[in-house]
């Protein structure tokens, strides 16, 4: 596995870093979901809307932004 990473171009390493970041964020999101669900029940702005809802939206947007950055950087490479 070390050899594979060593042979990778900068762009492939970027893919690996982004993938690790997405997996880490997913594990955080899931970890709280599975082991500390009360955190997602926290109400916001004095209303019924809970912390989990905007966090989910932020997570989805982050994944999408990383993917767009990756494809744009690939265009630059070529």
């Amino acid at each position: 596995m070390t050899l594979v990473v060593k042979n990778m171009t900068r762009h492939q390493k970027l893919a690996l870093i982004f993938l690790a970041l997405v997996c880490l964020l997913d594990m955080l999101l899931l970890g709280v979901f599975a082991f500390a669900p009360s955190l997602y029940h926290l109400p916001l702005f004095g209303h019924s809307i809970t912390l989990g809802i905007p966090l989910a939206l932020v997570f989805m947007c982050t994944v999408f932004i990383l993917m767009i950055y990756y494809v744009l950087s690939q265009a630059g490479k070529n």
Binding site: L19, A34, M67
Partner: protein
């Protein structure tokens, strides 16, 4: 509900007419095996991305997820977020090497350095298990939906769906399947967007007002806006998320679309568009439609039966909601979108299964690569009809099966077989054919076996008192078992063939990332 809706019947006829024209036009461009399996590699990233999103957004996901959010609220999030992570895995780790190594099927990728005949036989068998299970679920869904919406008999509805999809695939190949999928995806995303805007308009475009309404209406109150209603223990939560994420990244009918674009960059662009379509559609389903249904449907007692249960079950939430939002006309639109979705997904599945039979089992397996393209395409057409008839027969036999559960079973099998083989063959030099087959078999047997002895089949279907395996979703056991099995049997494999396979890794790596 069984009265014919003129809008639904009109749109249904229009959709069938349009898809048959697409198929007829595509048939004129599908001459070679490359045209038939990969649309001549001429599909653009945008079109392919929309088609990928259509492949994933099946009727079971659309109708099922809205129904799940309606009953369990926030827990539906797992079904929204996990495919996004699956798409990220496909983009960052699989799309580029896939496009550069493969031609028509998943087996092309793994057979680059592994022993081609046994690995193709195994990978094609896994693909067929996944495709047949998925087909049965889709056909059962189509039959139930058409029975409910148009008043047809279940048997007639399944046969109509089967004959149409067999025609699309056997006549038009991948090109027809792609454009039908695009048509359906555009219809579905437009309908979801319209539905979301109309729902938000009822709440003055204020999420705070919508979620306050949810907390005031649902019997669980504000608890439905947080986790723990449907997924009650950490094992189930993580296991289901793992199946949805890794299962998506191993679905044969989704991955084979990466071969239809001209190059690796277009493959990545496809994934971006697929993510945009799936992400935006699922976000609207989760943040607006599912929660909107909790507030709006109880205001209409005509949708509830004598016992206070929703007519048609929870899978009908979006259909009832469409009537609340846009009356009979929009109800007709959503009904046709749901049926079109099933037809398009079944077409993609049949093509993936038929390609596994003709390309992997027949041409490259039995024929050892010496079969003519013409004969291969002819076998694909025959396999299409055989698979279609198999799907129809099984759907008639398993009419009362739980569709949503069959789909989670498919994703669990896909995540425990295809995904580990693909990712290890691409990134781990040590993987050997023996390791891939034995580890993959462990994943296949455990995923299917644990589902059979779990609560849904062992207790609810077979009527036993207690399950032998206590959890509904076994991916947390079967996926690691597959990876460990592949690693263990590969490092124990010291044969000459194993050394040869490992020595070809550098060549594969160079071709996968276009570094020759």
């Amino acid at each position: 509900m069984t009265d014919m809706n003129p809008t639904a019947v009109g749109l249904f006829t229009l959709f069938i007419g349009l898809t048959l024209v697409i198929t007829w036009r595509a048939a004129r461009h599908s001459k070679t095996a490359n045209d038939f399996y990969a649309a001549g590699n001429k599909i653009s990233g945008l079109v392919n991305g929309v088609a990928i999103s259509g492949d994933f957004m099946s009727a079971a996901t659309f109708l099922g997820i809205v129904g799940l959010i309606y009953t369990a609220g926030f827990d539906g999030l797992i079904y929204i977020v996990s495919p996004m992570v699956g798409l990220a895995i496909v983009m960052f780790a699989m799309a580029e090497p896939f496009r550069n190594l493969g031609r028509f099927t998943l087996s092309d990728v793994v057979a680059f350095r592994l022993d081609p005949v046994p690995i193709r036989l195994f990978a094609a068998s896994c693909t067929l298990v996944i495709v047949i299970l998925y087909l049965v679920a889709q056909f059962v869904g189509a039959g139930k939906l058409v029975q409910l919406l148009f008043g047809f008999d279940y048997r007639t509805a399944v046969i109509i769906a089967g004959v149409l999809t067999m025609t699309y695939v056997s006549v038009g190949g991948m090109l027809a399947t792609t454009w039908i999928q695009v048509t359906k995806a555009v219809m579905m995303i437009s309908a979801i967007t319209f539905m979301s805007v109309m729902i938000m308009a009822r709440f003055g475009f204020s999420f705070i007002e919508l979620y306050d309404g949810v907390a005031n209406t649902h019997q669980l109150g504000a608890a439905v806006l947080g986790p723990g209603v449907f997924l009650k223990d950490p094992f189930s939560t993580i296991s289901l998320a793992m199946a949805l994420t890794l299962g998506f990244a191993g679905l044969p009918h989704v991955l084979m679309r990466l071969f239809t674009v001209p190059d690796a960059r277009q493959a990545n662009i496809s994934v971006i568009y697929a993510t945009a379509c799936i992400g935006s559609a699922f976000a609207m389903v989760f943040f607006v439609i599912g929660f909107g249904a909790i507030v709006l449907l109880p205001q209409h007692p005509e949708f509830y039966g004598a016992a206070g249960k929703l007519i048609g079950g929870n899978n009908m939430v979006s259909i009832h909601l469409s009537k609340v939002i846009g009356g009979d006309v929009f109800f007709g639109v959503i009904s046709v979108v749901a049926f079109a979705t099933i037809l398009a997904v079944v077409a993609g599945l049949i093509l993936a299964g038929a390609s596994a039979v003709s390309h992997d089992l027949y041409a490259q397996g039995l024929g050892r690569g010496k079969v003519s393209e013409l004969a291969e395409v002819r076998i694909t057409r025959i396999a299409t009809v055989v698979l279609g008839l198999t799907g129809i027969s099984l759907a008639l036999a398993f009419e009362d099966q739980n569709i949503a559960y069959m789909i989670s079973m498919v994703l669990c099998v896909s995540g425990s077989t295809n995904f580990p083989i693909l990712i290890l063959s691409l990134y781990w030099r040590g993987l050997t054919t023996r390791g891939a087959i034995l580890g993959g078999s462990a994943g296949l047997i455990l995923s299917v076996g644990l589902i059979i002895i779990g609560p849904t089949i062992w207790v609810e279907i077979l009527g036993n008192k207690d399950p032998l395996f206590p959890y509904k979703y076994p991916a947390l056991v079967s996926v690691p078992a597959a990876f460990i099995g592949m690693w263990l049997f590969s490092i124990l494999d010291r044969g000459e063939q194993a050394m040869k396979e490992q020595s070809r890794f550098d060549e594969q790596f160079a071709q996968a990332f276009d570094r020759q």
